[in-house]
C-alpha cells in the first residue's frame, strides 16, 4: 500500500488543458437551445459504437480517458447503455453487418441526442469505402452533427469534436 500511495504522490496531476471547440467540424447547424446545451455541457453521457472500424480509433477514444486528457474531469463520461446516453460516438465505415445494430442503438438514445462521427472512415468511408460489405460514412446511415477526421484522430481532436457538438455556434 505504501508503494501504491508513493506512486500516486510522485506522479502528481498530469492533466492538460482541454482543447477549444472547432466549428469547422460541424456537419449541420447547432440544433439545440442554450438551455439544453448548458445541461449537456456539465454532464454529458456518451455511448460509443464501433460500426466497423479497424480498432485504431478505439485506441484514441480509450486515450481520452487517460490522465493527460482526463475527459471525465470535464463532466463527460462513457456509459454502458444507449438509453443512458446523450451522444453517440461512432467509429468506422458502417459495416453492412452492423447497420441494423447502429440504427437500433441510435433509436434507443433518448431525444435530444447528438452524433459525433470519429475518424476518416466515419467521415468518408476512408480506405474501406463503400462496397458490398460497407455502407461507407456514418452519415449514410444515421444523422451526424460533428465529424472528426484523422486516421486515427488524436485524442485532443476527438475531445474537440465532442466539445464542438455541445457548444453554441458563435
Amino acid at each position: 500500500m505504501y508503494q501504491l500511495l508513493k506512486q500516486i504522490v510522485t506522479t502528481g496531476i498530469v492533466t492538460e488543458a482541454a482543447p477549444h471547440a472547432d466549428q469547422s467540424l460541424r456537419q449541420v447547424e447547432q440544433r439545440f437551445s442554450e438551455v439544453i446545451l448548458k445541461h449537456f455541457g456539465r454532464a454529458l453521457a456518451i455511448r460509443h459504437v464501433d460500426a466497423g472500424s479497424c480498432n485504431g480509433c478505439e485506441l484514441e477514444i480509450h486515450a481520452i480517458n487517460n490522465p493527460y486528457y482526463n475527459i471525465e474531469g470535464l463532466g463527460i463520461r462513457f456509459v454502458a447503455s444507449p438509453r443512458h446516453a446523450d451522444m453517440l460516438l461512432v467509429t468506422g465505415p458502417v459495416a453492412r453487418n452492423m447497420r441494423e445494430a447502429l440504427c437500433r442503438t441510435y433509436d434507443a438514445v433518448p431525444e435530444p441526442k447528438l452524433v459525433v462521427a470519429i475518424g476518416d472512415c466515419g467521415c468518408t468511408g476512408g480506405v474501406f469505402g463503400e462496397s458490398y460489405a460497407s455502407c461507407g460514412r456514418v452519415a449514410n446511415v444515421i444523422p451526424v452533427d460533428v465529424a472528426v477526421p484523422g486516421c486515427p484522430p488524436a485524442p485532443a481532436a476527438i475531445m474537440q469534436g465532442i466539445l464542438t457538438a455541445v457548444q453554441r455556434e458563435r
Binding site: 478505439e58 485506441l59 487517460n66 490522465p67 452492423m98 441494423e100 445494430a101 474501406f128
Partner: protein
C-alpha cells in the same frame, strides 16, 4: 520430421522471401492424409482460405498454411469449377471450423463430411449463393438486408438461462455477439458470433496495386498496424524479389517491439481496471501516452501507421532521436517494474487473476492457441525465436512462458514480454546497421506469390499474397491470430462467473476486425 512431410517439401518449391516457406500443390484426395500426418508431427495450422482461379485455371482453390520446424508449408488444393468441394479438416484442426465457413461465405468452396455449415461472415448483407470473392462478383454491388437467422446451440435443463450480449457492448470495444448459457452465476456455455465488422477488406485488395495495398494492410487491425504492414511488405518483397536494406529490417524490429510495448502497457492498465484497481489504469495509460507521444515525435504517427512500406521504412532513426527513444524507454522500464511489484503484492488483484479463465496446455495445443496467450498456456512458440531471420538473429529474443494458462499467467507473460521488448529495442537501436532505409521495389508480373509472417504483439500475423499482371493483387489473405484464439475464450470462461468475463476477455484482448475482414 515425418518422411511423408519431407517428401512433400521436396515435391514443392521453396518460396523466395525473408521467412522459410514452401509451396506444394496437392489433390483433394491427399488433403486429409497430409493433414493427419502433419497433425501427428505437431505441425500447427496457421491459416485456411479460398481463392477463385477461374481467370487463371479451371476452377477454385483451397489454401492451407501449416507451421513446421522447417518453416511455413503452403498447401494449395485445386478444386473443380462445377462442384468446388474438399474433405473438411476441422476434426483434425478444430481452429479450421470458422475458417472453412468463412471460405464458403466468401468463395463458395465447401467442406464435405460432418462439417459445421452455418454461415460465419455473411450475416444478412449478401444473399446465400452469392460469393463476394469470386472474380465475376462486382465489389461495389450492394444488396438489401436479407434474413439473418443463426442457429445458436441451445442449452436446456432446469435453471439454465441465456444472456445475449452484443454486438454493441458496454465498453469502448469492437462489436461481436456473445451468447452465455448460465446456471446461477456460473457460465455453462459461451457461444461467440463474430463477423459484424466484415467490411470487404480482401475484395478491396483485389482492386489495388501492390503499392496501394500497404495502406490497407496497415488497417486490417489497427492495434497491430506495424505487424500487418511488415507482413504485407515481406510478402510483396518476396513476390517482387526485393531485398530490404539491413537498416530497414532493424528499424522494423524496433517498430514491432514498440507496438508490443504500447499494447501490453494499455492492456495491463485495463486488467487493473477490471479488478477495481483503477490506479493501474491511470498509471499504465500515462506510460502508454508518454510512449505514443514519443512515437509521434520520432516516427510521425502515434501508432506508427504507414512507416513500414514494401522495400523498407519511410522514417529513419538518427542518433539524437535514438537517444530520446532510449531515455523514454528507460523511464517506462523503471516505472513498469514498480507497477509490477504493486500488482504482484495486491491481494485483491491477485485473487481475481489467479485461476480465472484457465486454458490448460493440452487444450491449448489441441485447439492451436497462439501468441502470448499460447505462451501463457505452455505453447512455446514465437516466430522471432523459432525462425530467427534478420533482425532477430543478432539480438536473440528470449521466449516468455508460463503453464498455468489463467489470467495471472497471461498478465505474467505480458510483463515478461514488456521487459524483453524493452531490451530488444535497446539492442537493435544500439547496433543499427548503416545505409539506406528503403530499396526500390521491382515491377512484378502475375502468378507470383509471397508470404509474410510476423510475430505481432497478439500472435502470428500471416499475409499470403498472389500477384496479378501489372503490379496488381490477384488474392491477398491477411490472417489474424485471433482466428485461432477466439474459440479458446469460449473454453476459458467455462465455470467462471459472468462478472469475470470482461477480465478474461481483456486478458486475451483479441481482434474482431482482424478476423471479420
Amino acid at each position: 520430421m515425418n518422411k511423408a512431410i519431407e517428401d512433400l517439401i521436396v515435391r514443392g518449391a521453396p518460396l523466395a522471401g525473408a521467412m522459410p516457406a514452401f509451396r506444394v500443390s496437392i489433390t483433394a484426395g491427399e488433403l486429409r492424409d497430409v493433414c493427419e500426418k502433419a497433425r501427428s508431427q505437431k505441425a500447427r495450422l496457421v491459416a485456411l482460405w479460398g481463392s477463385d482461379e477461374t481467370t487463371r485455371t479451371a476452377g477454385y482453390a483451397l489454401h492451407i498454411a501449416l507451421a513446421l520446424p522447417h518453416g511455413l508449408l503452403w498447401l494449395t488444393v485445386a478444386l473443380p469449377r462445377a462442384h468446388p468441394q474438399y474433405p473438411g479438416i476441422a476434426d483434425l484442426y478444430p481452429a479450421a471450423n470458422r475458417m472453412q465457413r468463412a471460405a464458403y461465405d466468401l468463395v463458395g468452396i465447401e467442406p464435405q463430411g460432418d462439417a459445421d455449415r452455418r454461415k460465419w461472415l455473411r450475416h444478412g448483407s449478401w444473399p446465400a449463393g452469392v460469393f463476394p470473392l469470386r472474380k465475376d462478383f462486382d465489389g461495389a454491388d450492394g444488396f438489401p438486408p436479407s434474413d439473418d437467422r443463426y442457429a445458436f446451440v441451445k442449452v436446456q435443463g432446469e435453471g439454465v438461462h441465456e444472456i445475449p450480449v452484443g454486438p454493441v457492448h458496454a465498453g469502448i470495444i469492437e462489436p461481436g455477439h456473445f451468447r452465455f448459457s448460465i446456471v446461477g452465476e456460473k457460465i455453462l456455455r459461451l457461444e461467440e458470433r463474430l463477423g459484424y465488422t466484415h467490411k470487404g477488406i480482401e475484395k478491396r485488395f483485389e482492386s489495388m496495386t501492390l503499392e496501394e495495398g500497404a495502406k490497407l494492410a496497415g488497417r486490417v487491425s489497427g492495434d497491430s498496424t506495424v505487424a500487418y504492414a511488415w507482413a504485407y511488405a515481406m510478402a510483396v518483397e518476396a513476390a517482387t524479389r526485393t531485398e530490404p536494406p539491413p537498416r530497414a529490417l532493424a528499424l522494423r524490429g524496433i517498430l514491432l517491439e514498440l507496438e508490443r510495448i504500447a499494447n501490453h502497457l494499455g492492456d495491463l492498465g485495463y486488467l487493473g481496471n477490471d479488478v477495481a484497481l483503477s490506479f493501474g489504469f491511470f498509471q499504465f495509460w500515462r506510460l502508454k501516452e508518454d510512449l505514443l507521444r514519443t512515437h509521434r515525435e520520432l516516427f510521425g504517427h502515434r501508432y506508427m501507421m504507414d512507416v513500414i512500406v514494401p522495400g523498407g521504412v519511410t522514417r529513419d532513426l538518427p542518433q539524437g532521436a535514438s537517444e530520446r527513444l532510449l531515455s523514454r524507454l528507460e523511464q517506462i522500464e523503471g516505472e513498469s517494474a514498480t507497477l509490477k511489484s504493486i500488482y504482484d503484492e495486491h491481494a485483491g488483484a491477485q485473487d481475481r487473476f489467479i485461476m480465472t479463465g484457465q486454458v490448460l496446455p493440452e487444450l491449448a495445443a489441441r485447439m492451436g492457441l497462439n501468441g502470448f496467450a499460447g505462451r501463457a498456456s505452455g505453447i512455446r512458440h514465437d516466430l522471432r525465436v523459432d525462425y530467427p531471420v534478420p533482425p532477430w538473429q543478432q539480438v536473440e529474443p528470449r521466449i516468455a512462458s508460463h503453464t498455468r494458462g489463467d489470467v495471472a499467467a497471461r498478465v505474467s507473460v505480458r510483463f515478461d514480454e514488456l521487459a524483453e521488448s524493452l531490451r530488444l529495442v535497446r539492442a537493435l537501436a544500439l547496433q543499427l546497421p548503416p545505409g539506406a532505409i528503403c530499396a526500390p521495389v521491382a515491377g512484378c508480373d502475375g502468378g507470383r506469390s509471397g508470404i509474410g509472417w510476423v510475430e505481432g504483439w497478439r500472435g502470428e500475423v500471416l499475409v499470403a499474397l498472389e500477384t496479378h499482371d501489372g503490379n496488381r493483387i490477384h488474392r491477398m489473405h491477411p490472417h489474424d491470430p485471433s482466428w485461432q484464439n477466439w474459440p479458446l475464450v469460449e473454453r476459458a470462461v467455462l465455470g467462471n462467473i459472468v462478472p469475470d468475463f470482461p477480465l478474461i476477455n481483456k486478458s486475451f484482448n483479441l481482434s474482431y476486425s482482424g478476423q471479420d475482414l
